[in-house]
């Protein structure tokens, strides 16, 4: 069972590495969109500092969304998905492998890029550590919840639009607690409660999302 999970994970990482553009595009989108804000709202330090955590989080959500529609689509189109659901390993396990690979190729780069972008928006130094921690707990949830959406839209026309309608509302709790953790840290308050809620969301997602995505995939190949 572990072998199959690792095999799927390794294959997806290798695919992402060789088709490097996808991963790079997500980070590039993240960076460019964040840099648009100083142009839009003006270079005033106080304004940028005030909106920094919100901008970083919202942009990270959108960037993660951008990469989701390919998560299962390529496998669906070339028939790999049929065969993956027909292996002796429960589909649930393989879905976990694919979601982990998605996080490693999109969530992790977003997390690494976020403090740099926060610096660009004049975030106070107290916020960086908590921003990284919140991203570390929040971005895996984005891959998990997004994976369910990506599995549900298989076979649908204009899936990309449908995907954002399905997934963005479900991202709201992560956004709310992710931003409020950073705000608390910047104001010198304790951010532990927010981080714990993000952790709880991650655990809940880990328990429910692979299961839901596997059910949606079975529906898609039928």
């Amino acid at each position: 069972m572990m072998t199959a999970l690792l095999a799927v994970l390794r294959r997806d990482l290798r695919l992402a590495l060789r088709q490097g553009a996808d991963s790079l595009m997500v980070v590039a989108f993240f960076v460019i969109t964040v840099t648009l804000f100083p142009f839009g709202v003006g270079p005033e330090q106080a304004v940028l500092e005030r909106i920094s955590s919100g901008v970083v989080w919202v942009t990270a959500l959108l960037a993660a969304l951008l990469s989701l529609d390919r998560l299962f689509q390529a496998d669906y189109e070339d028939g790999s998905l049929d065969l993956l659901t027909l292996t002796p390993t429960p589909t649930l396990v393989l879905v976990v492998g694919k979601m982990v690979a998605h996080w490693l190729t999109t969530g992790l780069p977003l997390m690494v890029a976020s403090p740099v972008l926060a610096l660009l928006l004049h975030m106070r130094a107290e916020g960086y550590g908590v921003l990284l921690a919140a991203m570390a707990l929040g971005t895996p949830s984005l891959s998990l919840i997004g994976g369910v959406g990506a599995a549900l839209i298989l076979g649908a026309r204009r899936g990309g639009v449908l995907l954002s309608l399905l997934v963005l509302p479900l991202y709201v709790p992560i956004l709310v607690f992710g931003v409020s953790a950073v705000e608390a840290a910047v104001m010198g308050l304790d951010a532990t409660p927010q981080l714990m809620i993000l952790g709880a969301l991650l655990l809940g997602g880990l328990a429910l999302c692979p299961w839901a995505a596997a059910a949606a995939l079975k529906q898609a190949v039928a």
């Binding site: 572990m2 072998t3 199959a4 095999a7 799927v8 294959r11 290798r14 695919l15 060789r18 088709q19 390529a74 189109e77 070339d78 028939g79 790999s80 049929d82 065969l83 993956l84 659901t85 027909l86 292996t87 002796p88 390993t89 429960p90 393989l94 190949v221 039928a222």
Partner: protein
């Protein structure tokens, strides 16, 4: 004792030796005595009943040839046998229990070859095969066993010199051969093949026929649909047309029948 069906190849030297563990690919591999059968199967696609009350049985070394015009449900039946589709009614099972009771065991015993070849453009032929051999194996194969199985499967399908060629450079026929090599790299007793000869040239079809004969000689089972002639000596023929359902038969009630007629003027 498993019935031996006509083989095209000289039997391997160690054919009488005790069979090795099933995880290693070996020419003297033998499958245990299994039976796979379906009873009263009804398949619904969209709002149309593709076939009804269909039954079949497959024992060691047996083959089932699915015939019928386009749309008669050959692909649907194979997808149903594979476990991708669920029958509307009827029972699909092995001699030791229905498929539904243990889908993972069913998947470990089945290999499905569909219309698509599941070849990634950026992975080489050897990498693709290695991946499928690993995920399809019930127990983790050792590195050496995996390498040997992949090399042997590539050699059988005449793909050895293409082992390091990425999928996007392979022709349709070569991709199909790579898909068929999967059956050898990850052995399983039941092969479900949906038009496996598509895109294959004559020489490759002959290789496929040899593989089918060998598989049956080992006690394997085959269900195959095709529009070309594939040499499957002694295969039973299942004509899907015989199980087509007239929608009017479903409404024994004259009023319903009239309603259906009014709805769909033929």
């Amino acid at each position: 004792m498993v019935p031996r069906i006509m083989r095209h190849h000289p039997p391997p030297a160690s054919a009488t030796a005790p069979s090795p563990p099933a995880t290693t690919f070996a020419t003297d591999l033998r499958f245990p005595d299994l039976r796979f059968e379906g009873r009263g199967l009804v398949c619904l696609r969209g709002e149309r009943i593709v076939f009804g009350n269909l039954g079949f049985g497959l024992g060691p070394g047996e083959a089932l040839l699915l015939l019928g015009p386009n749309g008669s449900g050959k692909s649907s039946l194979l997808r149903l046998m594979a476990g991708l589709l669920r029958p509307l009614a009827g029972e699909l099972g092995w001699h030791d229990g229905p498929v539904r009771a243990d889908p993972e065991r069913h998947h470990a015993r089945t290999r499905y070859v569909g219309h698509t070849d599941a070849v990634k453009p950026v992975l080489t032929a050897a990498e693709t095969l290695r991946f499928w051999a690993r995920v399809c194996a019930e127990t983790a194969p050792s590195r050496a066993a995996l390498d040997a199985a992949v090399a042997e499967a590539l050699a059988r399908l005449d793909l050895t010199r293409l082992a390091d060629v990425p999928g996007r450079m392979l022709s349709a026929g070569q991709r199909r051969r790579l898909n068929l090599a999967r059956l050898l790299a990850a052995p399983a007793p039941l092969w479900l093949m949906d038009e496996p000869t598509t895109a294959l040239d004559r020489a490759s079809v002959r290789i496929l026929e040899d593989l089918l004969a060998e598989h049956r000689a080992r006690g394997g089972m085959i269900a195959l649909s095709t529009h070309q002639t594939v040499d499957l000596p002694g295969a039973r023929v299942l004509d899907l047309d015989a199980f087509a359902v007239d929608p009017l038969d479903l409404h024994a009630d004259p009023e319903m029948r009239a309603a259906h007629l009014a709805e769909s003027p033929a």
